[in-house]
Structure formats: C-alpha cells, structure tokens
Amino acid sequence: MEQQVNTDTALQNIQRLTDNIETVIKGKRNQIKFVLTALLAKGHILMEDNPGTGKTVMAKTLAQSISGSHDQSVNFKRIQFTPDLLPMDLIGSHIFDDVKKEFIFKKGPLFCNVLLADEINRASPKVQSALLECMAETQITMGELTYKLDNLFFTIATQNPVEMEGTYPLPAAQLDRFFIKIIFGYVDEETELNIYKDYMGINNNLNNIQQVLGIDEILFLQQQSENVFVHEEIIKAVRNIVWSTRRNQDILLGASTRSGITFLKCLKAYALVNKRTYVIEDDVNDLCLPVLDHRLIYRNKEDKANALAGIRNAEMERLSKLKINA
C-alpha cells in the first residue's frame, strides 16, 4: 500500500525551494528539478557543460536556500580541480599543534553540506577517487581515524566537454556514484535577453537569497521521498529498461543492478519534486537518460544518441498502452 506521506508540508517545501532557486536561475526549471531530485535521493549530480552556463550559481543558490545552524546558510564549498591537486587539499591534513604538542586534524573543504567540484575531470585519478569515496560513504578515513561527514552532503560536480587535453575522464565505476548526469545547457533566447536586462538583479538576488528550508526539512524531504509510491508496473519498466541495456547490441556495458536501484530512488525523488506522491510513466521517460546514460559504455559514439532512447521509447510505448486498474 501507498504510505501516507505528510504530503502537504513536503510538497509546499519543495515548491518553496524550487521557486527560491528560480528567482536566480531562470529558464532552467528542468535542471533545477534534476538537481533537487539528486538531492532528495541522497545522491550527487554531475553537470556537463561549457563554462559560464550557471552551474556555480546553481550550486550556490541551492546552498544558500538551505539554512544551517545558527541562522547561517549551510556550508557551501567550492573546489576548482586541477591536475596538481592532492587528496589532502580536499580532505584536510594532520598538522602539528605547537601549543598542544600534538597532531590535530585540519578539516579540508570536503567537510561541508553542498560541494561544488568544478571540472572534476581535470584532477588526477587519486583525487577523484578520494572525492568519490567520500560521496559514497559520507565519511573520511585518515589513518586510523574516521571522520563522519555532515548528514546533508550533496556534491555538484561539473565537467567540461570541450578542451579534453590533459584531463582524466572518470571511469565508469566512478561515474556510477553520480545519480544523475545532466547537461546544463544554455537558456533560450528570450530568457537570455531577460537575464541581460537585469543582470544586476542576479547579483542582488544572489546576495539576498532567502533561506527557505532548514537542513532538517531537507532531511525530512529525503526521508519522505522514500515513501513515494511506485507502482509494480513502473518497477517492471525499470527492470525491463535495465535488462534491455544489457541485451542491446550497441551497448557494450549495460546498466548494473545498482543502477536500477538508483533509478528507482531517483524516480521517487523526482515524483516528489514534481509534487506527486506516486511515480508515473512520465518520470521514467524524463529520468531514463539522465540516470542511465552515463553508466553505459557504447560501442560507437553515434549509437549513443539512439540506443538508450530507443529502449526508453519502447518501454514507454508499453507503459502508455497498459491497462491498469481500469
């Protein structure tokens, strides 16, 4: 049975968060939804696009919309990844305290609530793996000591698709850690015009972002998203899609079982983001590519566009003709 979600407050909170972000990030409703989906699904998001499309602003806005302790906004950190970055630069290091005559742990930027990992593919694999371990485990192990990260730890990583020289593309296993990968994209012409018209406003807005939700409310939303009702046929559809990727001739590496579970988590979160307490077929349609595409290895680059979309369309066709409950 569908669990009764404390719908009204949860849905209102979501609405508030979305609206708040939208005051700054204009014409990116879908992207905002995906970011929030990743947030509510307790996952992380990878954004791929050219520089200057608003990725950083997005992360900042999100962070500032959430109030942490002491009326401060939650801890937001940004790391610009470079090839010479070391893991210590992320997680921090033990330094000798002259006064106390002992080594104390100096926390790195990872100890935050919202992390913007800019150009993640420029860092060395060592650094990448350090970050990704944190993302997966929400804890940092230094020697014998283990440091817990905050309850709310959300990473927005970005990747630049151009200028691939000297980069270390993320291996499939690590890409798997990102629940969703989206292309941020440019806004449409009219929105762009509006942005220019009040570019000062953006700055102002950015400086005056209201803190609409507390960490607790975010955590509550994360918990609520677990309770979203998923119809059996939707679960079947996820299974079918995952299986199809394994059978497809154009796909070398199909989706894993973990991908399927991630998919379901994202579906639930996405439904909640869309102010619903049940998953519908449109969610599957919308999420299929962002959730699964980066986990697959294709035979050719050209197939990339078609293979997964074909699988999704076929499954959608099945779902749309399905006679349930009627």
Partner: protein, 871 residues
C-alpha cells in the same frame, strides 16, 4: 511510420489510364491469341481478361502506397493457396472440383501476373522494357507451337505486342517525368499521346508498304503458301462422358469429322427376321431425332417439342432391375400401323453410359436385365427393349443393296409398298410445315432447284427418294463416284457460304452427317416430311450367333427418316459406302447367349436376416413371375435361401451383413425350379406363392435406395448442381470486396468502439482509461504521433497548443488513476468526465472531414498503433 502514397492522385490516375488500361487491352489480346493454341483456356478469354485486369488494377493501386513488396506478396500467395485448398476440400469427389480448381488456378495465375505487372508499373523504372521482353517471349513461344506460319499470322502475333511495347516504354517514361503541378497537365499528356499515335501510324504504314514482298517471302518459306488445308480437331458423333462412358452427341451438327476407333460400345440381340424367313434383318439403333434447323447457328437440333414426339427415352439406370417402363403413347405417335410389328431386343452395354437408351425406331418398353456373371467384366448393364418396328426397314438396304436375291426382292417389295403413298394431303398442317421447314435464302434455293431437277422424272415420293439416292451414288464423267465418303471433309473456305451447298455442289466429300443433312434439305425441298436420326449403324457380321450384333464406336451414324402416311417413319440412308473404310476386322466375340430371364422377382422390405444360415425373410409387395407383374394387395412373407445369392447395391457388390431390416430390396431367382412351376391360374398370385419352394432359392438381391435416401441424394445433387464458376467468382469477389471494405473501415470501427467505451463507462478510472485510449488512437490515426515524447509532454507541447484543449490536465489525472491508489478528488473527477466529448469535438473542428476520412483509410497507422516497437 506511416504508409503514404508514392505519387499524387493525379499521377495515379494517369498511370491507370495510360499504363494499366492499355496493359489490360494487350492482356486481352494476348489471352485471345493464346486461347487459340491452348484448349485449357476454354474460349473464356473475356473472363480471363477480367482476372488479369483485377490483378493489374489492385496491384498498381496497392503499390502506389509505400507497401513493401515481399511482405505483401507472400501473404497474397498464401491466401490464394488457402482458397485453392478450400476449393479442393469443398468439392471433393465431384468433377466440378476439377474444373473449379483449374479455373481458380487460371484465376490465381492471371491475377498474380496482373498484380506483378501493376507492381512493376508502380515501382520499377525499367519495368516496361522487361514487360515488353516477356510479352515478346510469350508470343515467340506461342507462335513456335504452330506448324504453319503465314505472314498474316506473324503480323497478328507480333504487331500489337510491338506497338504496345513502344507505347508502354514511351508512356511510362512520360508519366514518370511529368509534372502534375502544371495547370495544362491533361492537355500536355494528350498532346504527347496524339503525337505518338501519329508517329506509330506512319511507321506502320511505311513498314507494311515497303516490306510487303519480304513478308510474302517469309510466308512462303515458313508456311508453304498458306493454302494447305488444315485438319481441324476431329470431333466424334459420340462424346466421352465424364465417367468414361459414351453417349451420342446431342448437338450433332455439320461440323468436324468422325472418330474411327474400334472400341466396343454395346452389343445387342435383335429378334427381327425377314417376314417368313429365318434371315436376320438388322435395324438401325436410334438414339435421338434432329428435327429443327437453327438458321442462326446453321445446325440441326433436337427438339423436345416436335409434333408427334415418338421418342422414348427412359433412363435405364433409374429403373430397378426387371421392372419396366413403358410409354404406349409412342405407339400412337409413331403414326403408322401398316406393316408394323412388335419385336424385342436385348442391349448389353460396354462403353455406353448406363443412362443411355438405344433401340431401333419406335421403342416403347424398357426393362433392365441382369448380366450373366461371367460377362460382367465386359458388359456393365443390360436392358431389354420392345419396339414397334416397320417391316419396311432394314439396315441391309444401304450397304448390301445388291447380292442376295431375297434382299433384292424384298427391296423391290418395299418400294412397291411405299409407292402406294402419293401425297400427304390428309396430314395435319402443323405437322407438315414443321417437318418440311426449310430456311429461305440463296443457298437453300439452289438446294431446292437441285432437288427439283433430280426428281423431275419421278412420280411418287418414294421414286423421288430413290432418285435422290441415285444422285448420291452416281458417277461422274470419269467413272469415279461423284460423292465420296471422308472423315475429314475440310472446312469451307468461304466463311459466308452455307456448308450444305458447299458439300452438295463443290466438295462432295463428307461423312454421314453431311449426307443426312443434305438429304434432309433435298427431301424437305420436295415437301417430303423428314428428320435426321442419330444412333448406330447395324452391321451384320454374325454368322455364328444369329441375331447378335456388335456395335463399335465408328458405327455411330446419322441418317434420314421420311414419313409415309400409314407406314410411319421409314429409314432412308444416302451415305455412300466408304472406299477406304473396311469392315471391322475383329471378329465379334461371344455373346452372353443364355439370356437370363428372371423367373421370379420380388420387391419389398427385409424382415429378418440370418447371416449364419444364409436366410432372409422379406415382405413382398410386388412381384414378377414369368415376366408377369403382380401387385400384391396384401404383403406376403417370403422365406428365402440366399446361400448362392449375390447382394448388390448401387455402389457394387456387398456382403450379406450389409442387408438390414427395413431395407427395400428386390430378390431375383433364375432357378429352374421356378421355371418349372406352372400355375393353373396364371393370374393368381396366391397360387404361385403356394407353389414356390420354401425357402425360395434366390440368386440375386439388389438393395434399393429408400425414398428418404433418394431424396437426400437428390437434395445433395440439387445443392451441388447449380454450382457455377461465375457464382464462385462473384462470391469470391464479394468476399474479397467485403474484406477490403472491412479493412478500409476497420480503423474507423476501432475508433467507434473506443469512443463507445469512453462514453459508456462511468467509473472515473475506467472512463479515464477509455477516454485516454480513444484519444490517443484518434490522434495516432490523424498522424499526431507521440514519438519521443512522454504522454504528458506530448499533450502539453503538441496537442494542447494546437487544439486549445485541456488534454494535459486530463492526462495527469489519468496517470494518477493509473499509477496511484489514491482516490480522485472531485475536481479531478470533473476533469475526467468533462474531457472526452469536448476534446473530440475540438479535434474534429480543427481537422476537416476530408482529411480525417483520408487518414482513417490508412490501415497501416492502425497496425502501427497496435504493434510493439522493436528495441
């Protein structure tokens, strides 16, 4: 994917008019031409053209849509195969099945040929060239079959095909390249075609005028001058029945030659002797009379309405064994009492159909009789017939006119007797005018003149007839017979000339039908009532077995009968003896000498059957004892010993166990014991029964079909009889048409069904489902396909902006009903209940009816809707 037209309607119309129609024409021509060489086509080239045209039309139109060839052609083949199987199954065991199957095969072949040609025109660019090559190849093959080629035939065979080839190659390219957007489109095409026709005509004229000599040379080389008389297919006076037996031809006209094969048709014992002597007097066996001349077809016909119809034509196969059928009215209608007597004959049929009845003129009695066991292999059935024959008739008068002094004397007596007849003044007018009818016309006048000229010295009718006969037997200046007998009289060269005048005045060669026909007209020209009789010539070759005659296939004959008041119809044969023909060399076999006469025949129901003791008890209703029929008022029980009996059914011999209580049977005895019973009172059946030995020795039992079975059989026959190929064609066309109609209207019907469901349901969940399905189906059919969009996106981005509807909000509610267990709110329920009809209306308002109609014809979209996409 949607199936679209390859070309615009205008272009398709041009294709149909300019390519398909001429293709039909050339097809008709080719079929007509080929028909002359292949008898399987049965002169039905018009029908066959229709088959071909149907294939052409459907193929061309069908493939003007983007259907794939293989995936549509193979189902077509399968369909045809299935129908042919069905035909075979439906008509098992019937001869019609064979014809239906053959006809259907021809239909399939032509339809597929047409279909392929239609496909070619619609799809292949170089198809006209291929088609031309194929047509030429066909004509070459057909022409190579003929032995005598004339220039005319060559031209007939090839000219149309060549013209068609030129035309089709030219026009196909024209149609392909034309711009149908142009305003003067029709005029452009017309201009081009007129130009083409002019060029073709000029070319033809040039070819014919320049190469006339060459054509003649070719003619000489191939055909030897074209003057050779070609043998036409021989047609026999007998016809082969479907079951292999023979019958006399009904439409024995003046065509073809006679088949001279030596197969035995039947044998007969004829108890006819010259008065006062022991010399057997053979008589012609008559089958039918041809009395009416159809001026239109120039053939003699039988006529069941002839005045004084004295033809007795029972079906011996329908009379139970030893029972009789008589028609005494024949005796009066024979119109002759002088020199008449009643004689009997027994006919044993070999090849002759069991249904046929042959006997010397004026038969009135028929009684099927049993064939002795040893002879059953050779003779299937037999019957006894009684005739009221004239003493003046004899088969001898023609073939052995001279020789035996008895015969000569007798002939003289015959003539003297007949000279008593001077005129037909006392005869009925209608009778006379019917039997002396002769059409008007030059050729008949010439016959009349000839008749008058030949008989100017003769006083009495018989003398006139003798004069005619002398004419046929006369010799020319060189001492050669004027008339010759030939099986192949040749075809009169002049199509308008009358065959008879050709025969009488020019050719003077022919077989019996020619002589009979010519004589008939000569006689009628003289006012002598006469008719042609067909049947068998009786040849006496039986020195051993007096009175037994053997009838072979080549003895089928036609001759004339003339009517003499008081004497009746007298045989009169003018056919000259064949110089080539020899008497049948094979000596006649042994006849079944001991003609079995059934001493005792009883008819009735079976009461008990004892298969161990071989006893049968029956209830006798009717019996024949010593050839006398007794109708028993009270049924009598009869105990029978059947240990020696054979039991027959119409299907053949069966065992005793087949005999069941209640069956109607006839029991027969040939026993001596029966023969020796001499009743004191020959009219008392009781006395006879008392004298019959108990149990009665029975030799043969025949199980009769009970009335019910008979009726059932008749009904089955009746059901099967009116079967005709035309009907089959119509029915199958109707079925195909119905299927096509159904297929065309199916998309719409499905829509109506969904719509009905959407309107009928009231539970929100169901209503939303059916509304959704119906809407999506409608949009799909109208070409608005979801493609990559999710339903919600599709509704939001494409449908709602276009039609200004609230489809997306409906879909949201629908999806809620679909994937959630939450109940709908009242506002959501309102959305569901108020969605369908307004939406349907909005769509219909935006898309005009014509467009909707066209789109609903597209069956492929429907298929698309119901098929799963392939991953």
């Amino acid at each position: 994917m949607k199936i679209e037209k390859l070309h615009s309607t205008k272009k398709i119309a041009a294709q149909l008019l300019l390519l398909i129609l001429p293709a039909c024409a050339i097809g008709a021509y080719m079929l007509w031409h080929i028909n002359q060489y292949y008898s399987v086509l049965n002169n039905q080239w018009v029908k066959h053209t229709l088959y071909l045209a149907a294939g052409l039309l459907t193929g061309c139109i069908f493939y003007n849509y983007r259907f794939r060839f293989i995936s549509t052609f193979i189902p077509l083949l399968l369909l045809l195969l299935i129908i042919s199987r069905v035909i075979r199954v439906i008509f098992t065991g019937e001869f019609t099945a064979f014809y239906a199957a053959t006809d259907f095969f021809i239909f399939s072949f032509l339809f597929i040929a047409g279909w392929l040609i239609g496909w070619g025109f619609a799809r292949l660019r170089y198809f006209p060239i291929i088609l031309s090559a194929v047509l030429l190849a066909i004509q070459i093959i057909v022409v190579s079959k003929t032995t005598d080629i004339t220039a005319q035939k060559l031209i007939i065979a090839f000219a149309p095909v060549l013209i068609f080839s030129l035309y089709i190659i030219y026009t196909a390219e024209l149609v392909r390249n034309m711009n149908d957007e142009e305003p003067g489109f029709a005029w452009f095409i017309g201009r081009k075609l007129i130009g083409f026709a002019l060029v073709a005509a000029v070319l033809l004229i040039i070819i014919f005028s320049f190469f006339n000599k060459e054509f003649k040379a070719i003619e000489k080389e191939f055909g030897g001058g074209g003057k050779q008389e070609k043998e036409q297919d021989k047609e026999s006076l007998t016809k082969q029945n479907k079951d292999g037996t023979l019958s006399n031809k009904k439409d024995m006209g003046m065509k073809g030659g006679r088949k001279s094969s030596k197969r035995l048709v039947f044998i007969a014992k004829l108890d006819n002797y010259f008065p006062g002597t022991e010399t057997p007097n053979p008589l012609y066996f008559t089958y039918d009379y041809f009395t009416k001349f159809d001026t239109l077809t120039q053939t003699l016909e039988t006529d069941s309405l002839m005045p004084s119809n004295d033809l007795f034509q029972p079906d011996p196969s329908k009379i139970p064994l030893y029972f009789t059928q008589t028609d005494s009215s024949v005796l009066i209608k024979a119109k002759g009492n002088l020199k008449r007597k009643i004689i009997t004959t027994e006919v044993y049929k070999a090849l002759l159909s069991p249904k046929d009845f042959l006997a010397p003129s004026t038969a009135f009695f028929c009684q099927p009789i049993a064939v002795e066991k040893e002879y059953r292999q050779q003779f299937k059935t037999a019957y006894r017939a009684k005739m009221y024959v004239s003493d003046l008739n004899s088969a001898y008068f023609i073939y052995n006119p001279a020789g035996d002094s008895t015969l000569l004397n007798f002939q003289q007596q015959r003539f003297d007797e007949l000279r008593k007849v001077k005129n037909w003044n006392n005869e009925d007018n209608s009778f006379m005018s019917y039997y002396t009818f002769i059409p008007k016309g030059d050729s008949y006048d010439s016959i009349r003149n000839l008749a008058q000229q030949l008989t100017k010295n003769a006083a009495t009718p018989i003398d006139k007839m003798i004069a005619l006969r002398e004419f046929f037997l006369s010799k020319d200046e060189d001492g050669q017979p004027l008339f010759k007998y030939t099986e192949n009289p040749g075809i009169p060269g002049l199509p308008s000339a009358n065959k008879l005048t050709y025969f009488l005045f020019e050719n003077r060669k022919g077989y019996c039908a020619y002589y009979a026909g010519a004589t008939l007209f000569l006689l009628r020209a003289l006012g002598i009532p006469s008719r042609v009789a067909t049947g068998f010539l009786t040849v006496d070759r039986s020195d051993k077995n007096k009175g037994w005659y053997w009838f072979y296939e080549d003895q089928a004959h036609a001759w004339v009968q003339a009517y003499f008041p008081g004497y009746g119809w007298i045989d009169f044969d003018t056919t000259v003896p064949s110089t080539e023909q020899h008497q049948s060399p094979a000596p006649d076999g042994t006849p079944p000498i001991t003609v079995q006469s059934a001493q005792f025949v009883s008819f009735g129901k079976v009461l008990t059957v004892d298969t161990i003791k071989k006893r049968v008890e029956m209830e006798v209703n009717k019996m024949i004892f010593h050839d006398k029929v007794f109708e028993l008022k009270e049924p009598v029980k009869l105990d029978m010993d059947v240990s020696l009996a054979t039991i027959n059914k119409d299907t053949g011999s069966v065992t005793l166990s087949e005999l069941k209580k209640g069956m109607e049977i006839t029991a027969m005895s040939f026993s001596e014991q029966m023969k020796n019973i001499i009743p004191i009172d020959s009219n008392s059946s009781r006395e006879i029964f008392s004298k019959i030995p108990k149990p009665a020795p029975i030799d043969e039992i025949t199980i009769l079909d009970t009335e019910k079975e008979k009726q059932q059989k008749k009904e089955i026959k009746k059901e099967k009889e009116p079967f005709s190929l035309l009907k089959l064609l119509l029915v199958s066309l109707a079925i195909i048409g119905g299927l096509v109609l159904l297929m065309l209207s199916l998309p719409w019907l499905i829509y109506r069904w969904f719509r009905f469901k959407a309107l009928q349901k009231s539970v929100p969940k169901q209503k939303s489902y059916w509304s959704y399905t119906s809407t999506m189906y409608l949009l799909n059919q109208l070409g608005l396909v979801r493609n990559d969009h999710s339903p919600l996106q599709f509704a939001k981005q494409e449908i709602d902006p276009r039609f200004n509807t609230n489809f997306s909000s409906f879909i949201q509610v629908y999806l809620k009903t679909k994937y959630s267990t939450q109940p709908l709110t009242t506002s959501e329920e309102n959305i569901v209940s108020n969605f369908y009809l307004p939406f349907d209306k909005a769509v219909k308002n935006q898309i005009p009816f014509k467009q909707r109609f066209n789109k609903f014809l597209n069956f492929y979209r429907t298929i698309n809707y119901f098929t799963k996409p392939k991953i």
